[in-house]
Each structure stands twice: as C-alpha cells, then as structure tokens.
Amino acid sequence: MTTRAVLGLSAYYHDSAAAILVDGRIVAAAHEERFTRKKHDSDFPRNAARYVLKEAGLALKDIEAVAFYDKPYLKFERLLETYHALAPSGLVSFTAAIPVWIKEKLFMRSMLKDELAELGQGKPRMLFPEHHLSHAASAFYPSPFKEAAILTLDGVGEWATSIIGLGRGRDITILRELDFPHSVGLLYSAFTYYCGFKVNSGEYKLMGLAPYGHPGSGQVERFRRLILDELVDVREDGSVLLNMSYFNFAAGLTMCHDKKWAQLFGLPKRAPESELTQGYMDLALAAQQVTEEVVFLMAEAARALTGAENLVMAGGVALNCVANGKLLRKGTFRDIWIQPAAGDAGGSVGAALAAWHIGLEQERVAVAVPDAMQGSYLGPSFDDVDIMLTARDYKAPYRHFTDFEELCATVAGLIADGSVVGWFQGRMEYGPRALGNRSILGNPCLPEMQKKLNLKIKYREGFRPFAPSVLEEDIGTYFDLDRPSPYMLLVAPVLESHRKPLPENYDSMAMYDRLYIQRSDVPAITHIDYSARIQSVSKATNPRFWAVINAFKQKTGCGLIVNTSFNVRGEPIVCTPEDAYRCFMRTEMDYLVMGDFLFSKQDQPSWAEKQDWRDEFQLD
C-alpha cells in the first residue's frame, strides 16, 4: 500500500513553519526560527520543510499535496479595499505594503513552486485553505472529540478575525465570521503596543503584567469602562465593533492613535524598556478583563449555535491561558481542547489537515486519545553521537550515565539544592511552549528562584512569571484544576492550602516588593494573583520528563518543578545540542543535561565570544 502525504506550510507573515501528514497522521512539524535562529522568522520555511520530509523519510515527489495556510488573493483584496475605503489617509502604509505584493506575494504560487523546487523534484498539487479554516482544522482534527464547537480568534487572517464553527467527523462548518477591522486580537495587540511591548510577540507579557493591576481599585474599573464605552462595542454574541477613530492599524504603521489614547486614559504610551508604573499594570488588567468578557461571550454563542458539549480553540488569542482557564471553570462547555501551536505557526498543521480531510476528502478514521498532537513533540531529535560531537567540538567535559534513573536522581538533587539545569531530551516541541524537551528547570520552593531565573539566566524583565510542570497525578494536590493541561494553556489558582498570608501593607507596596513576597510554598511558580500556568506531565507522553520530576518529588516531597523555555530573551528556543551548549555557556545556568550526558558549568573550559551575544538577538 502506498503512503499518501501532505506538506503544510505557513510563511511570509510571522512564525513560518512546516508540518507533514502521512496517511492523515501528523509525523513532524517545526518552526523555521528554531533552525535559522531568527525569532519569528517569516521566510519560506525551507529548513523546517527539509526536516519534516527527512523525518517522514519522503522526498518532494512523494508528496500528494502542499497546503499553504492562507489565501493570498483574498488578503490582497482586503488590503486594497481597506486602502480604497480610507484613502488618502493610508498612503504611507500603502506605499510600504503594496510593493511587496506587486513584486512577490501576488505571485505566491510561482514563488512557492520555486522554493519547493529547491527541496527536490516533484509537482504536488497546491492548495490554499483560508487562514481561519487552517486554524479551525488545527483545533478540531487533532482534538479528542468526534464533534465539537470551534472558536478561532486572532489578529486577522484574510478578512476574518474570528470564526465560530462546528466540527463533526471530517467536516468543518463555519457558522459565524467576524471580519476586519473588528478584531479582539488586534484590540489586545493595541494594548500590547501601548504598554510598550512588541506587537505579535509581546502579547503574553501584557497577560503576565495584568495580575499586577489592583483589581479592586477604581482605576481598573474606570479603564474597563472607558474601553467598553469608547474603544469597543461588545455585543451579546461576543462580536466586537472597534471605534476606528482610536485605532491606526488599518491605515497607518502603528496600532493606535497615541494622542487620543493618552487623552482617554490619562497615560502616555509607554516607551519600550522604560519603567512599568501602576497605571500600565491597571491598563493591562482592564484590557485582559475585556478580552475575557469577549471570549466568554463568543464561547456562549458557539455553544448556543452548535449545541456541542465540547469546544476546540486556536488562533493567537487562544494562547491567552488566563482566559482559557477561566472559560473552563465557567463550565460553558464540558471540556475544552486548545491547539498547542495556536498561533500562525500552527497554521502549517492546520492547512495540512484541512487539505487531507476537506481537499482530499479523507475520513477522520479514529479520534485520538488523549489527542493527535503526541505531546507536541514533533520536532527534530538528536542522538548520543550528535551530543558527543558537540562536546568534542567545544572540548566540553561531561559525565555519561548508563542508568537514566541515576541521572534523574542526580539532577533532582542538584535542582533541590538550588541549581538551575538545562534539560535537553528527545524531539523538540512544536508551538511556543517548552514542554520538557527543551526546558530550563529549577526548584519551585525557593523564594529566590524567580529572580535568579529572570535576571541571571533569561536576562528578561523581572516581573515575568514562571510556569510549573507538575506530575499529572499531582495536579489536584497543588491546583484548583480537575483535568490535565499538557500544553501549558490553562491557568488555574494555587490551592488555598498551599498559600501563605500576605502582609497588611501589601496593596501599597511597589511592584517588585510585591513580586518577591512569598505567596505560597511553591513561590517561584505562584503568580502575584495566586495563579499558575500549568503543564501536567504524563508518564505515557513524556516518560523522561516525568521521571525527573518524580525523582525531584522523591527527594523533596514536591511533585512539580519550574519549567521555562531553553533560550534567553529574544532567542528562539534551542534546537540542536550546539544551540543548547552555547545557551548554557552564555548564561549563569549551573548544569546542562543532554540525553544521558551531564555537563557541569564548573568543569567547562572558559567561554569567550568576539562580540556581546546579547546583540545577536533583538529584544522581544
């Protein structure tokens, strides 16, 4: 029997990626940035495509169809009609955007064919599913549900900014669509921009900043009212109507009209990297609250329209794990499944799945349990030889363990003593989160761990929270969550029994003083509002990661560990042993584990680079 394969691609906007399906099964998927070391790389994913073909053991001639994650002409139509409607005010933006279209993007099919020709011979059929159909497919087909309501939310695709649909069997039916410029994703991005973070990458920082706002203060409520009265009209079904006199993204090169926003909120646009004052924290909280309201209303509308008991989600806004956690607790749906690569990179898997089930009319044979993403460990892996070659190149001494349990016990002891350990195992994760194969691990019980990780290892803002990876069987011991959260996409409260009382003057304390108050017996992963962004680790999905957390539990009694992505600020997550070793040596990380090899910083030769490596990565 011959195999049938589909290659999915997302590219030319941000977060390029490639994915491959063989007989409907996701065999490999990877982000281009991990290979090129350029964060959010938007080029054609030639390295990622080469990798997924290699992983599947196929050549381009074996590929039946190539699916690109959006419809370029429809996007061009949106651009032209928007400029036409707003002329002449969009002239500057027009002259910046249109030449790229005239020169390249209008010839997308030829461009893709040329790029594919570089990968090998073959003339696969080319398909272009719509952007939100790709998101919807990435959410529904790999989910554990036979039937589910579908909600996709992001900035913008072609026209759509959000859709509600129904997935049943191999069919996806779109029931409602919200079109540009009215977008909850762009609204959130406007606040990201106004609070001094980068659009399309800093949204999670705004989410992390929100809990520092004072929820009971009059200012948060005032901001929330201003947003709802002036910036956005939120309808009963979650549709949003933006007041475009406040926004500039449709015709200009910024997200909003800074002066009008400053007048409205009495707060100027924050300069990047400048001090974070209470006003921006309150604004972030108000923006988060409005976003949550919209997501809840849309979910209720999806429930009413479809009658389905389960919900699947994708699109950049679905990475808002605070909203996801609250939506789950509201009980609108019995269960929720969120695509781990919910952003545009996930469009590559979605496009491939849409091509397979809709374009090639292939049935969805069986519903996968727990899901078809295989823990999202879909990227490249490296064996002992690769690791030893890297060690040889850098003359790096190591200790090799023949017994993995012994390695875990040793690492658990090091972590318990306060060391920070780089953990590099098996296949790289697909999606923005490190889920235990390209992670940096630390002891969650130590009060200084958050500070150490942020300032000495990751070189990022001190306010940023860290996530716990908890043994799946121990979730209920620490968190108010009654089900697994394998992809770090649900935020839930730390249980009362683990919390510690706050000082009486807590609310009047400065941000960093509040941050470093010990709020629970796992302070490094307890955010300022007692919440945590949870990854549950199952023995079946990732036995090695489970084993090291379990060893830590044997040693300390604590069944969870701090897990942050293996990179420094502005750097893509490491891919190869060489990337990992370099990151290890550049930071104050104490130990590195790659496969069965343990590298101690103390034993390594001195590390010198010609130029400061911090210049290599743009701050995100």
Partner: protein, 51 residues
C-alpha cells in the same frame, strides 16, 4: 501564467472585477519601476510621456 489564472479565478469567484484596473495599473507601474531601476530615477524617463 499561474498568476493570470489565479487572478482571474479569484476575480470571478469573489465577483470583484472592479479591482482589475487597480491591479493592472499597479502591476504596470511596478514593472516600470523595476525595468527602469538601473537608470537612476525610476520613472524620470517617462515622466512627460505619462503625465
């Protein structure tokens, strides 16, 4: 050829024929700029002929 086929398919499907003159004009100007890019000012040699 791919481009013309795709463009026609798109205009027909979406019934957006009014976009055709805009696209053609932009493509012509684009081609003009690319073809004359080597001669210093891109549109200078055509300025009197065109306007």
């Amino acid at each position: 050829m791919d481009f013309l086929k795709d463009l026609w398919g798109f205009l027909k499907e979406r019934k957006k024929f009014w976009l055709l003159p805009i696209i053609i004009t932009m493509l012509l100007f684009g081609a003009l700029i690319i073809l004359t890019a080597g001669s210093g000012s891109a549109v200078a040699p055509f300025i009197y002929t065109l306007f």
